[in-house]
């Protein structure tokens, strides 16, 4: 029902351009500026065609055709701006029914994880049984993370290869760590317990990537996912704690003691199920919470820099650098791991096309200070090994510090070339993702070989 047929064409192309824009809007990989840029191109092309004598609608058709198939183009954008895609909503275009199905899958796997932690009780391994604390401590990641991995296997449609991979890694890890328990020393078992989660988490990463850890973009996504996952999990744990406390209190008011139920059912099952649910939440961004990891990284980077550098200066001034005691050394190493985590957060949450900012320089300072602290720790460990001989703990510490040394040196080098404008930020990202297998390989070595050697 067009009132003025002469005018209709103008309205028509304008609305067509808007439709074209709207189609692009639906893709999370493109932000408004990108769409403006593409529209500007479309209009330039249309004007050129109109000058050649084409009608408006013809010009639109040809110009749109020349821009290309929008699905192909947006896929290309998604490759380049993976972080952006991740920030909005993973897998654009997923319908409500798909989301509901995902929720259902996540719930099923959460329940599976909750059941899994109660299964050993069927075989007499109750929480208060003898040796139960060791048993649950070394298996804790195996109750929950494989189910999170399976959720991604389903979601990424990895089919049988995915199921087989997760199952075989989980079973192999379970056999290995429980088999060692019979003969390995407490020290090596403790080391294995600390390192096993790294391996299992990497397994989650491999299925999370959906392409078996091949593309750089997916690896960065997984790092972002890891950062947000920790935050979500802590939030859920706090909420769960409050809820449990209230439940306990309410029931005790009416004279019923439910502490046994809370201790042996609600807390362990809830903690396991929450792993899968956190993963699903981060993935679907159901909550309205903005990405927290970059915010935290920005808040804590200056603080850690200040703390580390004042510590370093004190050590050097007082001359206590080479006589570090065992406890201090453990503390130092833990702190270096936290700093590494902070750097990981900061790098993976940064928009790589932004120019150098003050924050990047601060990051470089943090990395360099951490590097110096690491050298100090290395010296202390080497000294201890030299003086008091080789033990599993010292070798583990030595290896970790060496790996950190290489990792931090890489960060320092790439940050400084980036700040000097000699390289783009992507080199730094690549360094980060390419180095991840090194951590995992070291963890594998500690878990598999240490109990046999020491």
């Amino acid at each position: 029902m067009v009132a003025n047929p002469l005018n209709s064409q103008v309205v028509d192309t304008e609305s067509k351009v808007n439709e074209w824009r709207a189609h692009l809007m639906r893709h999370a990989a493109l932000n408004e500026h990108d769409i403006d840029e593409l529209e500007s191109h479309l209009r330039d092309q249309m004007e050129a065609l109109q000058e050649q004598g084409l009608r408006d609608d013809e010009a639109f058709l040809i110009a749109a055709r020349r821009v290309g198939d929008l699905d192909d183009v947006t896929r290309e954008y998604a490759e380049v701006h993976s972080g952006r895609l991740w920030q909005n909503l993973v897998f654009g275009g997923s319908s409500d029914s798909l989301k509901q199905r995902n929720l259902f899958t996540a719930l099923v796997f959460a329940v599976c994880a909750a059941i899994a932690i109660k299964l050993p009780a069927l075989f007499g391994m109750h929480f208060d049984a003898e040796g139960a604390d060791w048993f649950y401590a070394r298996n804790i990641t195996l109750f929950s993370l494989p189910f999170l991995a399976l959720y991604f296997v389903l979601d990424r449609q990895l089919e049988r290869a995915g199921w087989g991979f997760v199952a075989s890694v989980a079973v192999a890890a379970a056999i290995l760590i429980n088999g060692y328990a019979s003969f390995a020393s407490t020290t090596t078992m403790t080391l294995a317990m600390i390192h096993l989660p790294i391996i299992i988490w990497f397994m989650v990463g491999i299925v999370y990537s959906g392409d078996w850890w091949r593309s750089h973009a997916k690896r960065m996504d997984f790092l972002r996912f890891s950062g947000e996952f920790v935050i979500y999990y802590v939030l859920i744990a706090i909420g769960g704690g409050v809820l449990t406390a209230f439940t306990l209190g309410m029931f005790s008011f009416i004279g019923i003691d439910i502490e046994w139920a809370v201790q042996s059912w609600i807390i362990p099952c809830g903690a396991m199920g929450a792993v899968v649910i956190s993963g699903w939440l981060v993935e679907g961004k159901q909550g309205a919470i903005e990405n927290m990891a970059p915010v935290l990284a920005r808040v804590f980077t200056p603080m850690f820099t200040l703390m580390l550098s004042s510590f370093l200066v004190t050590m050097l001034v007082t001359g206590r650098g080479f006589d570090i005691q065992r406890e201090v050394l453990i503390g130092l190493d833990l702190m270096l791991v936290v700093v590494l985590g902070l750097v990981l957060y900061a790098v993976s949450s940064r928009d790589p096309s932004k120019p150098v900012s003050l924050f990047d320089k601060l990051q470089l300072v943090l990395v360099v200070t951490a590097l110096l602290v690491d050298v100090l720790a290395l010296g202390a460990i080497a000294g201890r090994i030299f003086d008091m001989g080789v033990t599993a703990n010292r070798v583990a510490a030595l290896g970790e510090n060496l790996i950190l040394l290489v990792s931090l040196s890489g960060y320092a080098y790439h940050y400084s070339t980036f700040i000097k404008g000699k390289a783009g930020f992507t080199n730094l990202e690549r360094w980060q993702t390419n180095y991840i297998p090194v951590y995992v390989a070291w963890a594998l070595l500690v878990v598999i070989a240490f109990p046999l050697i020491f």
Partner: protein
């Protein structure tokens, strides 16, 4: 003539860098310039140029800014080459010249003695 996809992909970066090195410019102009330079043989899907530009920006070889164009009054995103970009371009230029020279030599030889390829000879003449 249709160019192979691989060749298009490989040549797009030095081409785009070269064009932007001539002076600050925007997407549509780049596409026009490529067409003109190749006599119409290089026909890109226009939309694919932008992700490439963004990737180059992430690598630090380009920088961009929004500016109102004097001719249309519309806002456009202009790209300029950075110092790092100039160096990258220079490297790529050398690489392509190397390949170009090698190809020219072998084709020149082929036209001189066309049988050469039969007597399993791959020695240089």
């Amino acid at each position: 003539m249709n160019l192979s996809k691989d060749l298009m992909a490989a040549s797009s970066t030095p081409l785009v860098l070269g064009i932007i090195a001539e002076g600050e410019t925007y997407g549509y102009e780049i596409v026009k310039r490529v067409e003109q330079l190749s006599g119409g043989a290089l026909n890109w899907t226009d939309g694919m140029l932008y992700p490439l530009l963004h990737r180059l920006e992430q690598q630090g070889v380009l920088e961009s800014r929004w500016r109102v164009a004097s001719d249309t009054g519309r806002k456009r995103k202009y790209y300029a080459i950075t110092e790092l970009g100039r160096r990258t371009l220079q490297e790529q230029q050398q690489q392509w010249q190397l390949i170009n020279a090698a190809l020219n030599r072998i084709w020149h030889d082929m036209t001189l003695n066309p049988q050469r390829s039969d007597d399993n000879g791959c020695q240089p003449a």
